[in-house]
């Protein structure tokens, strides 16, 4: 892994206007000021509970929504305001793998049609070349070419997910956003798909943004991990640091929630940190630190001020007043 930055997000904000009861409108702060860098060839894990904005952040990086604020720099180019032709060119460089394999393929179309779609859209390759490239893609993802003439409903979840991966690879992207790519699959298939993703990464020097709520999977795959809470990154560190030396109280709670197999060894099981309450509504985030409503170490200051992401150790960033270093 080198240290060349592929994607850089600077204070990225993605707000939506939602309708509440009686026609009132509210702003939903799905992503609220995220700053991070993803290096070329790495797997960056993004974890957090449901509704914390991790999928939205992934889709924001793909420019699926008009950006509310901030800047996204991809491969040295500012993509945050791209439109038309420029956006279409960017589409070749960044792709996505979806969570639900049954909804990510159009049920009315054969696999061969689904896989030739990227080339049709971008007017690439002629008929015979397309056919060869599709076979090549099938080979890469371990899909037998007999499936090409089938419809999605005639395939299993794992096979459909392979088709989804093949489609994402079709245009030779540099980066792939994996939005919970294995959480809808059987455990045995999960391992296969993860191994496939790792092999492809080595072969094609891909960069992954791996979104998941399954911490064990993330631990296995990722080099660096960002922990999100209510639209913000609360902790960002190399994977082993997160698992061994989590600093933010929210990350500590997440880590302690990973089930531990009691193998009868004498190692003491650390007490589990149980958070009370639910994720506050992203339409009405708490003042001050977003986590203060559930934090076991809450201080008076947390209710008034919002902590910023600070480097507590090299490459280890935490957004919490507990580690605030006074100059």
């Amino acid at each position: 892994m080198n240290n060349e930055v592929l994607l850089q997000a600077q204070d990225v904000k993605q707000h939506f206007t939602v309708k509440k009861e009686r026609g009132q409108k509210a702003t939903l702060y799905a992503v609220d000021g995220v700053t991070l860098s993803i290096y070329k060839g790495e797997t960056f894990g993004l974890v957090g509970e449901s509704g914390c904005g991790k999928s939205t952040l992934g889709k924001t990086f793909l420019r699926l929504y008009p950006l509310t604020g901030g800047k996204i720099i991809f491969d040295g180019k500012d993509i945050s305001r791209l439109r038309g032709r420029g956006l279409k060119e960017f589409r070749c460089k960044s792709q996505m793998i979806f969570q639900d394999p049954s909804s990510c393929l159009n049920p009315r179309r054969k696999i061969s049609e689904i896989l030739s779609e990227p080339f049709v859209i971008h007017g690439m390759l002629t008929g015979e070349e397309r056919r060869r490239r599709i076979l090549e893609l099938c080979d890469m993802v371990g899909l037998s070419s007999q499936y090409l003439e089938r419809y999605p409903h005639e395939m299993s979840g794992g096979q459909k997910q392979r088709v989804g991966i093949a489609r994402a690879l079709a245009l030779n992207p540099q980066m792939i956003i994996c939005d919970e790519p294995v959480s809808a699959l059987d455990v045995s298939i999960q391992a296969q798909v993860i191994n496939l993703l790792e092999d492809l990464q080595k072969q094609l020097s891909l960069t992954y943004l791996f979104i998941s709520h399954n911490l064990s999977v993330v631990k296995h795959c990722c080099q660096r991990i960002g922990v999100m809470y209510l639209g913000k990154i609360v902790e960002l560190a190399p994977a082993d640091r997160i698992y061994q030396d989590a600093r933010h109280p929210y990350t500590q709670a997440l880590i302690s929630a990973i089930p531990i197999i009691d193998d009868g060894s004498s190692e003491p099981v650390p007490p589990q940190i149980v958070l009370s309450g639910d994720l506050p509504s992203p339409t009405d985030p708490p003042v001050g630190c977003a986590f203060h409503t559930r934090c076991p170490h809450v201080m008076e200051r947390c209710r008034r001020e919002r902590p910023s992401l600070q480097e507590v150790e090299p490459e280890h960033f935490v957004s919490c007043f507990l580690y605030e270093q006074h100059p």
Binding site: F98, S103, C104, R109
Partner: protein, 279 residues
């Protein structure tokens, strides 16, 4: 042609039955002048009026002694044409209007939907009457009037289907691949929406025929001496002791409606690969 052959190959009995009924009616409409035993309008036999069905008059005779069978056959020409054209126009307008409204969403959706609600809020028959009266009572004007009050149903149905279909990941995938909005609508959303629309359209055919009959009854569609199913049903209502006068045209409407519905069901199953190949 290939598609048509595949469609016929289906092991779908209901679909074939529907096809047979509808083809039979279309043939009957085309060949009516050759098939009818009596002229539907000029053959009036006041002495032989209100005759029950017999070998001479298969469906009996009406209050003017006209042969009901001949009139049912002739009526198919106007009724089926009017019903089909109304549904087709509404379908086309509705799919365009609702498709855009549902896909674009936001303010555009609000404005378009309020407009369609405005049209829907008028009592349908009265609106059709106003239009038909303003443009002059004839067949094409009443078809036009019906299409105007009919399309919002299709627009609203299309909109709701499009809204649910566009949430699917394959639509997002297509966007991420860089497909244009038109391509997404045409390749991803519409193919997954037309099935239920086709069913609604074929179900509606009977309603359209009935509504057209209503207009005719009020003197705004087909003018009295002409044979038209709805008008014939209402004729019979006034003299309901003579059941055959309204029963046979009623059965005609029923058979066309149910035949079209079988076709619609078969079409939906055919369009959905998941259902293809099942009985």
């Amino acid at each position: 042609m290939n598609t048509a052959r595949q469609l016929l190959k289906q092991k779908n009995f209901m679909f074939k039955l529907g096809l047979i009924i509808c083809v039979a009616w279309i043939l009957a409409a085309i060949l009516a002048p050759v098939l009818v035993p009596y002229h539907p309008i000029t053959h009036q036999d006041m002495a032989g009026r209100f005759q029950p069905p017999s070998t001479q008059h298969w469906f009996g005779t009406d209050s003017l002694g006209r042969d009901v069978f001949s009139r049912v056959l002739y009526g198919s020409r106007i009724s089926i044409t009017a019903g089909v054209i109304t549904v087709l126009i509404s379908f086309a307008v509705g799919i365009l209007f609702g498709g855009i409204s549902g896909y674009v969403g936001g303010v555009v959706d609000d404005i378009m939907m309020r407009f369609s609600e405005m049209v829907q809020s008028f009592p349908p028959l009265i609106l059709a009457m106003v239009i038909a009266a303003a443009l002059g009572p004839n067949i094409s004007n009443s078809i036009f009037a019906m299409a105007i009050i009919w399309w919002p149903n299709y627009a609203r149905l299309t909109r709701s289907i499009v809204i649910s279909v566009k949430e699917n990941d394959y639509v997002t995938a297509s966007r991420i691949l860089g497909a244009s909005h038109l391509r997404i609508l045409y390749r991803e959303i519409l193919p997954n929406s037309v099935g239920s629309m086709a069913v609604m359209a074929t179900l509606d055919l009977g309603n359209a025929i009935l509504m057209f009959s209503g207009l005719s009854f009020l003197g705004l569609g087909v003018q009295p001496p002409m044979a038209e199913w709805g008008a014939m049903v209402s004729d019979g209502v006034l003299t309901f002791n003579y059941w055959w006068i309204s029963t046979f045209p009623g059965l005609a409407i029923f058979s066309v409606a149910i035949g079209a519905n079988f076709i619609g069901d078969g079409l939906r199953d055919y369009l959905d690969p998941r259902m293809r190949g099942r009985a």
